[in-house]
Amino acid sequence: MGKGSAKIDNTIRTLRFHAGEMTQAVLAEKVGVTRQTIVAMEQGRYSPSLEVAFRVAQAFGVPLEQVFQYRGEGE
């Protein structure tokens, strides 16, 4: 589980906008997590497991790296 200072950025909010303003509830349903988990991911308070990350990417029909970006040391 990630912490508040996670080094992983994501574009979930943008992808939801481009997906016809998909609601967090709909995305949560597609991914199989709670809406609160989607909220926490969007706000960078939670870094999901690899499996959930793949499911988020699948929900938008984009590659994983388009949803999550790793910010390395010093970046």
């Binding site: 990630g2 912490k3 709670t34």
Partner: protein
Amino acid sequence: MTYKELNAAVMIVSGAGIAAWVGWQAVTEPAPDLESVAWRLLYAIGLNIVINIVLMILATIVVSIAKREELKDERADERDRSISDKSLRNGYFAVSIGGLAVIIALAMGQGPIVAAYALFAVLMVGGLTDPVSRLVYYRVG
């Protein structure tokens, strides 16, 4: 506020309330012997469970009315399980440290009545550490 956060908040309120009540009783009406203390603490634990259930029902109704939609518990996902695990670990840690402190207190000559109250306090602190941790992890991350 989600159902899980509300549950944690209710546990904190009822646990803290019962702990304060036991503490107040211990000071104002000291029990004559260890058996009386043990019954008092058992009663407090039972009361804590009942108050927790009643408060949770009432809080769910109040929040549901305020939000104009039924507050339901969602199926736990990986984040919920992770938070639950970490909170339990924190509670276990608090109980371990507290248990050690009680043994040290006994070794230093404290009587069994003080030890019984201290044991109860340790259990309450451990029981409160879990929901406090859950609230922090849910809110702060």
